[in-house]
């Protein structure tokens, strides 16, 4: 609590409490807006459970805020490939999210083969691989393989998009 860094970390976790509280209020308002006549066959109605969930969310938000202000701290998850000694690396995450969003925007228009290639290639580069050509070839191969695998093996037609007619 004394050093600046722990203070900052504590404040970041207050965001979690804020999110819980916001979701709680949202659930409450949404349920409150439902109009249902009382029915003998359904005495509970569609509102009761949302109200309980909203209450739980808000209670957790308050308790978590108190806990964080008093110095409590959630333990970040470790793992085989995780090195918690360095702070979150936004230079990796943002390009990664960018590749993901590009895929969402492209998938219906350009088709899976193109958007999937963009997704995989972008992700590999964002994660630090520097063999551009080999990575590109792998990306195209993966996208093509999954496209045909899904179509022929599972009968699921992924969108062909721009390459309609070629594939």
């Amino acid at each position: 609590m004394s050093s600046l860094t722990t203070g900052l970390k504590g404040r970041a976790e207050l965001g979690v409490a804020l999110l819980l509280g916001a979701v709680g209020v949202l659930v409450f308002l949404d349920a409150n807006g439902l109009v249902t006549p009382y029915s003998q066959s359904d005495p509970v109605g569609p509102k009761t459970v949302p109200f309980i969930v909203a209450g739980l969310l808000v209670a957790c938000a308050v308790l978590l805020a108190v806990n964080v202000i008093r110095g409590g701290q959630g333990e970040a998850e470790g793992g085989e490939d995780i090195d918690l000694t360095h702070p979150a690396d936004w230079k990796t995450i943002l390009p990664l999210a960018g590749a993901f969003i590009l895929n969402i925007l492209l998938i219906d228009w350009a088709g899976w083969v193109i958007s999937g290639t963009v997704l995989f290639w972008g992700s590999v580069l964002a994660l630090g691989s520097r063999r551009y050509i080999r990575d590109g070839l792998i990306s195209v191969a993966l996208s093509l393989l999954t496209f045909y695998g899904f179509y022929l093996g599972l009968g699921i037609a992924l969108p062909a998009g721009l390459l309609e007619g070629i594939l």
Binding site: A12, L20, V23, G24, V27, D30, A31, L34, S41, D42, P43, V44, G45, P46, V49, P50, V53, A54, L56, L57, C60, L63, L64, N67, R70, G71, G72, Q73, G74, E75, A76, E77, G78, G79, E80, D81, I82, D83, L84, A88, D89, W90, T92, A97, I101, I104, I107, D108, G116, F120, S123, V124, L127, G128, S129, L142, G153, L154, I156, L158
Partner: protein, 572 residues
């Protein structure tokens, strides 16, 4: 129903060439992803769900059975060869397993893990085949109030008992329940939390939620903290065991199984508690206690058997009551539902052949695991060296593909990213993932049972405790919720016991319990405060998660709370 003849019919179904092939694919796939860091069996099943929609349910579940056991085994390989277990159930295996591997006995460690898993899995599956019909017989007499109570118990137990902070567990559960509310209310047709968005009317697809939280969240989280220095993987040849290893392993295997199955079958299942108990027991009973901490084979054999027996035990409430208690079972439950099959007491009568084929394929999967994994161990070790950019880009790629192929709409990918960001945040701030997933899956079912109960009693809340079983369960729920409070009172009344070793009041297992405190990578404070923040009111010191600075410790992945759980379980 005659268990034996049903099971034989199940074998007949599971051993048709195609189904057998699916079992083989399942085992190989399950082990491969279990070995790979960042991937667990729950995620594999979630990713494969859309793929298996093209299969018949029976084949799909046969494959899931293979993935389930394969994933468990793969996780232990990783923890033996790398000493950085990804799953909490493999934490204990890593303690002795990695020491053995470092001492040049990796082959024996893998062998005792594989054979122990096989024996425990086989006994566990046999117990499942015997117990499930008994549970079903008991369960058909239960009405909606009892089901409601059992589901509440399962949710609370998983949330309150597992994980290091109860408060964070409940936060995660509440978020999951909120996600589960989205969509059209089945009774009145009202739209809840859809915000006028027609794509949300059918609710969030469980595949999308599971893939987002498990896969996308994990990939983003690892990307943020990717280890830039390559990990040291201990090379291994073909696993084998000497005569002495056999004689030291067989008893721990059986004892581990005895710990694992009942804990797995309880609503607060999970493999953490039985693996820890097994470790402590083996340490106490061993003729070579001095080897513990330096690579004792008993310390691998027992916990590994407990782990796999617990995996089999978990399937008992899943199949007989429709009650999942770990992430994989939860996703499998979602799979059942998506095939239009309702797990629960009626399952054995309505879908008998499918259930027995599933149980039979668990036996087959177990045997395949042994036959395939012993020769393939060196290959799995190589898999650990897959370049990380490819691994995590691949996870994102297949997560996207899996989520998209459910409905073929880009909107699901937006949800995938948003929920993936939620999964990232949960990992960053120590919110456990399991309560959220169970909340999403069980939430709507609980609501259904609640409404059915009160419908029967015409709105009188007393209808909720109109069945004796329900009353008993509410008492247990009360005990779980009040446990930290009771524990505090007991400690206050016995000031002598206060301090870093509360294990002195835990009864018969006390000596081993306290010695384990010293050996495991445990923060003494967290062992002394198994209670957490929800009811204590003084969050400052009681919060076992407040361990700033511990992140750099190589063992920080070992859950600090496991000994605390053990004590909790032993006391009553």
């Amino acid at each position: 129903m005659d268990v034996w003849s049903s099971l034989m019919d199940g074998f007949a179904t599971a051993l048709t060439p195609m189904n057998f092939l699916y079992a083989v694919i399942g085992v190989i796939l399950g082990t491969a992803v279990g070995v790979l860091p960042g991937l667990g069996p729950a995620m594999t099943v979630a990713l494969l769900l859309p793929v298996t929609y093209a299969l018949e349910p029976t084949s799909a579940f046969i494959m899931f059975a293979g993935i389930y056991y394969g994933g468990m085994y793969g996780g232990s390989t990783t923890s033996i060869l790398l000493n950085t277990p990804g799953e909490s159930s493999s934490v204990v295996t890593a303690i002795e397993g990695n020491k053995m591997a470092k001492a040049g006995r990796a082959a024996q460690a893998l062998a005792t893990a594989a054979i122990g898993s096989f024996i425990a899995g086989t006994i566990g599956t046999a117990l499942l085949a015997v117990c499930a019909p008994i549970v079903v017989e008991f369960a058909v007499s239960l009405g909606a109030p009892s089901y409601f109570a059992i589901m509440v118990l399962a949710l609370l137990a998983v949330t309150a008992v597992l994980g290091s902070s109860r408060l964070r567990g409940f936060s995660s559960l509440a978020l999951g329940l909120a996600i589960g509310l989205v969509g059209i209310d089945s009774v009145t047709g009202q739209r809840r939390l859809t915000f006028g968005q027609p794509l949300l009317a059918d609710g969030l697809d469980i595949v999308v939620v599971a893939v987002a939280i498990f896969a996308v969240g994990e990939a983003l989280w690892v990307a943020a903290h990717l280890r830039r220095t390559p990990l040291h993987v201990i090379p291994v040849g073909r696993p084998w065991m000497g005569k002495k290893d056999w004689s030291r392993s067989w008893k721990p295997w059986l004892r581990g199984t005895a710990f694992g199955f009942p804990f797995g079958a309880l609503p607060a299942g999970g493999a953490e508690i039985p693996t820890f108990l097994s470790y402590v027991t083996e340490k106490r009973l061993s003729k070579h206690p001095e080897e513990f901490g330096k690579g004792a084979i008993e310390g691998v054999a027992g916990p590994e058997a407990a782990n796999n027996a617990a995996a089999a035990g978990t399937l008992t409430p899943m199949l007989a009551l429709g009650l999942p208690t770990n992430a994989t079972a939860a996703v499998m439950l979602a799979a059942f539902t998506s095939y239009g099959i309702q797990p629960g007491p009626q399952l054995f009568s309505s879908q008998g052949p499918l259930v027995w084929a599933l149980i039979a394929s668990l036996f087959i999967g177990n045997l395949l695991l042994l036959l395939i994994n012993l020769p393939l161990a060196p290959l799995w070790a190589k898999l650990l060296q897959l370049p990380r950019p490819y691994l995590y880009a691949g996870i994102l790629f297949f997560a996207t593909l899996g989520a998209y192929s459910v409905n073929l709409q880009a909107f699901d990918l937006v949800l995938l990213l948003a929920l993936g960001a939620l999964g990232f945040m949960m990992r960053r701030f120590g919110l456990p993932v399991l309560p959220l997933i169970l909340g999403v899956i069980l939430g709507p079912r609980i609501e259904g049972q609640l409404r059915k109960s009160l419908q029967l009693s015409a709105g009188d809340p007393a209808g909720l405790w109109s069945e004796p079983i329900a009353v008993v369960i509410y008492i247990i729920v009360g005990l779980i919720l009040l446990w930290p409070l009771i524990f505090k009172l007991v400690r206050r009344n016995r000031p002598a016991a206060a301090g870093p070793v509360p294990a002195t009041e835990t009864g018969p297992a006390a000596p081993s319990g306290s010695s384990a405190h010293a050996d495991l990578p445990v923060h003494p404070e967290s062992a002394a405060h198994p209670g957490s923040t929800v009811h204590s009111g003084s969050g400052v010191h009681a919060d076992s998660t407040a361990r700033p600075g511990s992140h750099s410790h190589p063992d920080s992945t070992a859950r600090p709370d496991s000994p605390a759980h053990a004590d909790k379980k032993e006391t009553p």
